[in-house]
Structures are given as C-alpha cells and as structure tokens.
Amino acid sequence: MNINLTIIGQVISFAIFVWFCAKYVWPPITNAMEEREKKIADGLAAADRAVRDLELAQDKATDQLRQAKQEAAGIIELARKQAGVVIEEAKQKAREEGERLLVAAEAEIEREFNRAKEELRGKVAQLAIAGAEQILQRSVGEAANSELVDSLAARL
C-alpha cells in the first residue's frame, strides 16, 4: 500500500505502450478493418447491381423475343399476301395466254378457211369452165370465156 517509485514506472511504461500502440498497432489494424468494410460494401453493391442488370437483361430479352415473333408473324403474313398476288398474277397471265392462243387459233382457222375458199374458188372456176365446155360442146376461145368465168367465180 506504499506509494513509491512504482507509480512513476507505471506511468512511463504506460506512455511507452500507448505510443507503441498508436504507432504500430492501431493504424494498420483499423485501416485494414475499414478497407475490408469498404470491400464488403462494394461487393454487396456489385451484387445488387448484378441482380438489377440481370433483370434488365431479362426484360430486354423478352422484349426482343416478342418483337422477333411479331416481325416473323408480319413476314409470314406478307409472304402469304405476296403468294396470293403471285398466284393471282399467274392465273391472270394464264387467262390472257389462253385468250391470246384462242384468238391466234381463230385467226389461223379463218386464214385456213379463206385459203380453202380461194382454192375452192379456183377449182370451181376450172370445174365450171370444164362443165361449160362440155355443155356447149363447142370451142369457145378460152381467153374470151375465162373472163366471163373469172367474173362468175368472183361472185361466188
């Protein structure tokens, strides 16, 4: 219970320990702790951000999917329409071609008919001359008669 030099020794050692602690112990440990706190906070923030990013990406993906589906549907619709148009056109063309062929055929027929008529006319003229020759039994100048017969034939 006696107060003696111990008290001064204690003050000195206390001062040394506090100095040592302030220089070598406290700063590095508290700094490390603060840094770790910051790291953890950053990590948590990054995780939050990642979750948000994921949500955004998912939203975007569904959006794009929907858009793609819409586009595909549009394209299909357009294709169907175009197919209809093409078929319609083909039908139209076929119809036109058919009509053209018909007209051509008719013209051919007419031409054939006229040719046959001409031929027939010639033959009829000859036949008529021959018939007239035989009927008249007399030789009429062919040149004089053929004029007559030609006008006859033209009236046919």
Binding site: I7, Q10, F17, V18, V25, W26, N31, A32, M33
Partner: protein, 277 residues
C-alpha cells in the same frame, strides 16, 4: 496452506500475500530487496515494487507483441484467428469510442485499447491460484510476490494519473489556459459564485483520477483478498468457494477493465468539449 498453526500464522499468510517484492535503500544505506513490511515502509518513496512493475510490463509487452505481429501481417481479406481476436478487441474499443467520443483525435483509440487490454490482462492474473506463483518464487528465494499488478495502488494510480495528465493537457490545448480556468471558475453558479464554483469544480476535477484509480484498485484488492481468505480453508473445501468466486470474478475482471476504459474516454471527451459560456 498455512492454516496449520492458528490465527497468528493466518495473519502472517495474509500479510505475506499482500506484500510486494520491493527494491529500495535499507536504513543502513545499502540497496536491496525488503524482507518485511516494516522495511518497505522505511524505504519510503524511493523504492520500487519489482513484482507489480515486472508483471505489468510483461503483460503489456505480451499484448503489444501479439498485436504488433498481427498488425504487421494484417490482411484485408479473410482474417486468421489471431487477427480476428485482435480485430474483435479493436472493434469493441472503437465502437465505444464512436459512441462516447465525438471529437477528432488520433490518440484516443490507441489509448483506450491499451488501457482496456492492459488492465484486463493485469486483472486476469487474479485467476491464477493465489499460492501458485508466490510458492514457486519462494522456492527460488524470492521473499514476496504479488502477481496481480492491479492490486497495487501504485499501478492503478499510475494509470489514473496518466489519464488525468492527458485530461489536463487536452483541456488546456482545446480551450486554452483561460478557457480551462473559466470552465473551473464560472460553471455551476455563474460569475458571482466564483469561489464556490472553483471549490466545486476542483473537487470534481480531482475526484476523477482518484475515483478512477481507487475503483480499480479497490475491486481487485478485495477480490484478491477473498481468494486469499478462501485459501485459508482446508484444502478439500476450498473449491466450493473459490470456483464460484472465480467465475464471478471473471465478470469483475472484464467489468473493471471496461469501466476504466469508458471513464477514460468520457473524461477525455469532456476535456475536448469546448463549451460556450
């Protein structure tokens, strides 16, 4: 242990356990270790309690070495066990500082940490069985040995006076000599009650280190005393009292270290606070 030969030897046993290993100048002029309580008393102020100083310095050095080893290889990643232990302690101290000390100071953290751990370690020496180290020391020829430094009033008052010196230093530093004097002079009753103020405030100021040092000393001294008294019981019955008391004492050990730290922080916080008058 010493209960064989009656009350006298019990008294001697207790006295022996409460005497420090003191080095100083004998009355005949030679320097050496005191062999009795009277010799210590005659040595006066110019003597030193080797056991108190020795154990307290060793304990402080152990903590400093441990924490320095951790601090040198401190990692911001996953801490190891030792780093964890130190970090928990540092964080505990730091949280107390943050809740009680609102000023900016580089000194308060190391100060509070040193006080808390050092006092805690010194108090923990109380859990070493009372006869264990002294008996070993006696075999080695050392007459007295008190293993709990905080049962020595020199140690606790040394700490308390250091804190008091810091309180005075920072009071003057923050408020100026005039500001500090004004705080002591004009406080409870205004300018008219100056003499009364001065007396009241001086008592308040001086009570701080006294209560700080004597509280720790008283608690630990009493605790040690009870351990010594329990040690006087027959050996087969001691456990019935010493075990509950030791378990309860764990609380006191921690609580006293904690109180010492908290009061240090509070006193310094008051020293830093610049009040408007």
């Amino acid at each position: 242990m010493a209960s064989e030969s009656g009350a006298n030897s019990s008294g001697e046993y207790i006295a022996h356990h409460l005497t420090n290993l003191t080095f100083g100048q004998h009355t005949d002029g030679t320097w050496g270790i005191a062999r009795s309580g009277e010799e210590i008393a005659r040595m006066g102020f110019w003597s030193i309690n080797l056991d108190s100083i020795g154990f307290s310095v060793v304990l402080g050095a152990v903590f400093m070495a441990l924490s320095w080893a951790v601090a040198r290889r401190v990692t911001t990643g996953v801490p190891g066990r030792r780093q964890n232990l130190i970090e928990i302690t540092v964080e505990f101290v730091n949280n107390n500082i943050k809740s009680m000390f609102s000023h900016e100071s580089k000194m308060i953290g190391p100060l509070a940490l040193t006080i808390f751990v050092w006092v805690l370690l010194m108090n923990t020496m109380d859990l070493v069985p009372v006869d264990f180290i002294p008996a070993l020391a006696q075999m080695a020829g050392v007459p007295y040995l008190k293993v709990v430094p905080s049962t020595d009033v020199n140690v606790t008052m040394g700490l308390a006076l250091s804190v008091f010196a810091l309180v005075l230093f920072y009071s003057v530093k923050q408020k100026g000599l005039g500001g500090f004097a004004a705080e002591l002079s004009f406080h409870p009753f205004g300018k008219l009650g100056l003499p009364v103020n001065l007396i009241l405030e001086s008592v308040t100021l001086l009570a701080k280190p006294l209560s700080l040092g004597l509280r720790l000393f008283g608690n630990l001294y009493a605790g040690e005393m009870i351990f010594i008294l329990i040690a006087l019981l027959p050996w087969w019955g001691q456990w019935a009292l010493s075990v509950p008391w030791a378990i309860f004492h764990i609380l006191i050990i921690f609580l006293q270290a904690f109180i010492f730290m908290v009061l240090t922080i509070v006193y310094l916080s008051a020293a830093f606070a610049v009040e408007e008058h």
